[in-house]
Symmetry: C3
Subunit: 315 residues, 3 copies
């Protein structure tokens, strides 16, 4: 997330009861978690294991729970609980405001776009032209929708990321400040849920079509002209390249890439990145041909056991 | 779909900028895709592979992208893009009209039927007597619901079929003109999605009970007194006969039949038709007993490998 | 369910056209099915297989279709159809009343709790302080929600149990009179469905977090600080102890226990109880390490078959 206008590091220090190590007058342009951070942004790190990664990241500013020299060109905020500081900054800029009606007056709805009854449109939502939003769809704050988009009934765009930090007293929520972005000519079926990014965008590319009851996690980016069938579940921070086809009930684990044009057959479970241009099956997935051979061999197990028995008798 | 009144073939030619080959004064009673087409109907074909099938089908009229002699008793429309013509005819008769309220004035609601808050009822919907439609249910245009039907909250009946034609520039939607038809004494759980037929009916037979979060694809026909557990996904054009039981998270591929009284255990994946009266398990499904034996043999693999090793040593 | 005030057994006999065997003046404090029944309650039994279990249960009163001597300290109701009697008593005390508005006037909503547009709140619902209920959520009658609870859009709490008795003429619904109870600091994602208990409570413990599109069946009890990922399906009467983690698309069969701190990997299917403190994978589940070994051995099947072939040649 970018701030509406850049903010000095000292101001963020005051907001979070933390201490500047470096240049307090430097301007911070936005806040992002480590996967999405860009030059000018602030991020956080609270575990020694990730100190080096955070300090070497694109972030110009880092909230950290160790006193140390800022790397060249960067400044730091020292705090005992950087995660809590990150949340305080996010909540300062993305305060939850109870809706004053079904369609927020801060939203922008294009020409020839139809909103059916029961649709909820949050703050600062933009919807393009020639869209149809079917009944009882919920669109959370800051969602961006292009032109010629169809969203079927009961679908939810922009609910919070499923992202928690375990503390001794229970789970602490990482507050989401990202968005859902839907490009032109996308169609989304009924009963889908597409979460907003933690700090970046969950994105569905031009011309991609989703069937019903599909779940897409935070910060996942889906390419153009993909076809995703019913009840597919896609975790967070996944990249799906163009022209991918996922058949029904496929499950995709977080933080991986499915290459351009890959086809994944029904009920497959994808635990790691898949090369494009191939067909996959199984949980965990293998190339479909290989998996089919394996299934055929398993069917021959009784015969194999029989042979082994005979050999034993022969000796 | 049948037209409100029969239409001459010439009129459809004008509507679609196509050319009559045969009798333009013949009356066309309806439009259906190839799986559902009946005598008197028009259908379309655009790939040489399916020309013969379409010309020999029950259709009395075929939109085709080849100049040819009509088969005896049939007439044709010649067009370079039959799929687009089909869509234009469908959209002419099933134009999407934005709702003027939550409950369309063209719908018919029976006696002693309760519609809870947030329910949306589209155009030309019929609901029988003694039904309860729980909050935030969406019922699209043309849905037919019998008597003593219960539909739980958030369920969506009649969203569009997931049916697209791949073109060089992206996916082109086949517009649905079918319906959802729910017979008497059906109960449907919360968060289900049942798509309308592409041109025919998606049907749920008398006394069948659906749990929550079930997806039923277009043109699927479910028999009487079936029991379908949570999160089952059923693709399009499936036939499920009477008294079938599907346990949780089962996936059913398109265009197959599950025979009367079959029982399919949880998480099974059904890739092809199943005989009735048997119990199945696995993805892909096998008879449950056979699958259980296989699982037991797989557990013996370490022992098998051990035996093979010993034999190698022995020689 | 407890009755608002205790009721004499004779009164229940009149209500159900059944006959008292024992003390008609005894007071009955509530009605519960056999899994949840407590001293003072009435339950029912209609199959000889379960007579002894019901008569020896905690129930003080049993509706039964056999004439017999009441056990010491208990009284019976004789009826030819005890299931129907049970339903009549439940429906007498839990009559379905059509809503008069979106938020029932008999509900109690705490301080600083936000109800977004399109939310439905049924009769006798209690929601604590500092909660956010996002748009188009449906909360059925009698649901209890603690403090600091977040429920995302489109979720449904308290739909009826999926519980039917097969009769020659079709399925007969067991009417639910239980509740959904959500403890403090729970967060529930979008598009979830949590069914009410048949006669007891479906419960989610303090600090537990649910992702999107999760289904939780009737009378299931989930402990504290669990993490349940997207599209998990949990059947009825399951016990999930504290600190359990279920990854995406896991399926849990009914009537089992998952021990404290167990972790179950994505798409696993759980057919029987799991010990706590371990990691599981597969459908059906095994310990993850064991399952991984098995998968590795299956990959060696081609080599094993090859070896067997060679041995055949060698002899």
């Amino acid at each position: 997330m970018k701030f509406p206008v850049p903010v000095t590091l000292s101001e963020l220090a005051r907001m979070t009861d933390s201490r500047v190590m470096g240049d307090g007058s430097a301007h911070v342009s936005g806040i992002n978690e480590i996967h999405k951070v860009e030059t000018g942004d602030i991020t956080f790190v609270d575990h020694p294991k990730y100190y080096d990664k955070a300090l070497a990241s694109a972030a110009s500013f880092i909230i950290i729970n160790r006193e140390c020299e800022p790397p060249p060109g960067k400044s730091l905020l020292f705090a005992s609980d950087p995660f809590a500081c990150y949340n305080r900054i996010v909540l300062h800029f993305r305060k939850f405001i109870p809706a004053s009606g079904n369609i927020s007056s801060t939203s922008s709805i294009g020409n020839h776009t139809v909103l059916q009854p029961g649709v909820f449109i949050g703050e600062n939502v933009t919807i393009g032209d020639h869209c149809v939003i079917h009944p009882n769809v919920t669109i959370y704050d800051h969602t961006q929708i292009g032109n010629h988009v169809i969203i079927h009934a009961g679908t939810v765009l922009g609910a919070d990321a499923f992202y928690f930090k375990r503390r001794p007293e229970g789970y602490d929520k990482m507050h989401s400040c990202g968005r859902v972005v839907i490009h032109d000519y996308v169609e989304i079926g009924a009963g889908c849920t597409i979460d907003k990014g933690v700090s970046g965008d969950t994105l569905i590319g031009k011309g991609t079509k989703l069937d019903n009851q599909i779940h897409v996690g935070h910060d996942t980016v889906i390419g153009k002209n993909c076809l995703i069938a019913g009840q597919v579940g896609i975790a967070g921070v996944v990249t799906i390249e163009d022209d991918v086809i996922l058949w029904g009930q496929v499950g995709v684990q977080k933080d991986l890439t499915i290459g351009k044009g890959a086809v994944v057959l029904g009920q497959s479970g994808i635990p790691k990145s898949l090369e494009g241009g191939k067909t996959y099956f199984g949980s965990p997935t293998q190339e479909a041909r290989e998996k089919m051979k394996e299934l055929a061999l398993i069917k021959r197990l009784p015969e194999i056991v029989e042979k082994l028995k005979k050999k034993n008798l022969g000796h």
